[in-house]
């Protein structure tokens, strides 16, 4: 099998040069067996262009750092194998988030804001007793919490969402899913009305117009359609009773 030459068209933007227009730069790289975009981008940086900015941390699809638009699709670069891509590969940073340069975006700050707005922590009046046995919980409940908790906050659902692209306040699928995680957790003592205050609006669940790009693009396969619908129904009941 002959080796392919891959051409990467990479979005370039340097915040140090605010006047310079964003542009696309091309790099050619011979493909190697088992090559992922993690390997390819590092090779480009080390061998061709040391200024190229991108983010990787775990390079194993766990940390959520490397979300980007790969031939338009929002997904994780580390787990994208070049053999699944055509010869010409376009790479762009995720939209919505603050651009830090080239393919690097500030997902961390965005998610922190959303976590603060949705008060994404367990609300309880109980105090921790170091000597007491833990509160019991059924294993099924634990697994249901984990199903939502799995979100790695990579931002692919946000970048792929047209609504999030034009509405800066919209918390998107990741935000709603985060709230769903606390809704199913019996340790969180918030009432449905309190949750309604957090997500029962246009910036929350009722801002979702059902494009389902989130559901189609979630790199770790969280059933976001189901999570969104769950919160929507729960909030509809809460809204009705209000």
């Amino acid at each position: 099998m002959s080796q392919r030459q891959l051409t990467f068209h990479i979005f370039r933007y340097n915040p140090e040069e605010p006047d310079a227009k964003p542009r696309t730069q091309s790099y050619v790289l011979p493909e190697e067996p088992g090559m992922t975009l993690f390997i390819a981008l590092n090779k480009i940086r080390e061998e061709q262009d040391p200024t190229l900015k991108f983010d990787f941390v775990c390079r194993a699809g766990i940390c959520g750092s490397c979300g980007m638009l790969i031939n338009g699709k929002p997904t994780l670069a580390c787990k994208t194998l070049t053999k699944d891509l055509p010869d010409r590969i376009s790479l762009m940073p995720l939209p919505v988030f603050q651009l830090l340069g080239d393919l690097s975006v500030d997902t961390g700050t965005w998610f922190r804001h959303v976590s603060l707005r949705t008060e994404a922590w367990v609300h309880t009046e109980k105090r921790f007793d170091p000597m007491a046995e833990e509160e019991r919980m059924s294993n099924d409940t634990a697994l249901a919490i984990y199903e939502a908790e799995r979100c790695i906050e990579c931002g692919c659902c946000i970048g792929g969402c047209a609504t999030a692209n034009i509405k800066p306040g919209f918390i998107g699928a990741a935000g709603v899913n985060r709230v769903a995680r606390f809704m199913v957790d019996p340790r969180d003592e918030r009432s449905d009305q309190q949750y309604f205050d957090v997500v029962g609006s246009e910036d929350g669940i009722f801002g979702c117009i059902g494009l389902m790009a989130c559901d189609d693009n979630c790199p770790i396969g969280i059933p976001l359609q189901g999570q969104l619908a769950y919160v929507r129904r729960k909030m509809a009941v809460a809204g009705w009773k209000r």
Partner: protein
């Protein structure tokens, strides 16, 4: 809690508008499909069609339907207007976004918005014609022999597409369905209703002008 929230407790406007959009949308889909079945009565012959029309006129069902359609459409339009990107910049972002991410359901939403806007104008004309002229097989036959044939074909496609995508989106948003099988079922229904509509048009057309 912020002051503005404290001063306006229990703000559920966003929910109510969303509910209005959903309910009016569902009603319109129901109406559309019933409407298409009624129109298809022409396939059973002129008598059947006219009998149905006269029945509706006798019991003032037609007037009711017109009032219903005006109110529901107005509600639906009022509710969904907030979804249409208002500013030019937003329009540009949304279209560019759809072009970049190449995501079918995002495109279908854009078409939904476009077909919806176009339909609004066509529906007004359509309702005006029906109210002004009444329902009668021969008159309808006359109309499809004019430029109105094109009008009906366009309206048929727009309405069926919009209803199908709208129903899909609603069911997806509220859950209980498997997206991909739902999509298949709705595609079949839409193709059938469009086929039925085209057959009805052909039936009117073959009645002669």
């Amino acid at each position: 809690m912020q002051l503005q929230r404290a001063l306006t407790p229990g703000n559920k406007t966003d929910f109510l508008v969303e509910a209005a959009q959903t309910v009016s949308g569902l009603l319109l889909v129901g109406f559309l499909w019933t409407h298409m079945l009624f129109v298809a009565s022409i396939l059973l012959g002129i008598q059947a069609f006219d009998a149905l029309a006269h029945f509706m006129e006798r019991f003032r069902l037609l007037d009711l339907a017109v009032i219903f359609i005006i109110l529901t459409v107005a509600t639906h339009v009022g509710a969904v207007l907030r979804r249409i990107p208002g500013r030019w910049q937003e329009q540009k972002i949304v279209w560019k976004h759809a072009a970049i991410i190449r995501h079918p359901d995002t495109w279908s939403w854009l078409f939904q918005a476009v077909t919806g806007s176009a339909m609004l104008l066509l529906i007004i004309i359509h309702v005006f014609v029906v109210v002004y002229v009444g329902i009668d097989a021969t008159l309808s036959a006359d109309r499809v022999h004019s430029w109105m044939l094109g009008f009906y074909i366009v309206l048929l496609f727009l309405a069926e597409y919009h209803a199908s995508v709208g129903l899909y989106r609603t069911l997806v948003k509220w859950g209980f369905v498997k997206r991909h099988s739902l999509k298949r079922v709705l595609t079949v229904i839409t193709v059938c209703t469009i086929g039925l509509g085209l057959l009805s048009l052909w039936a009117f057309y073959s009645l002669g002008g």
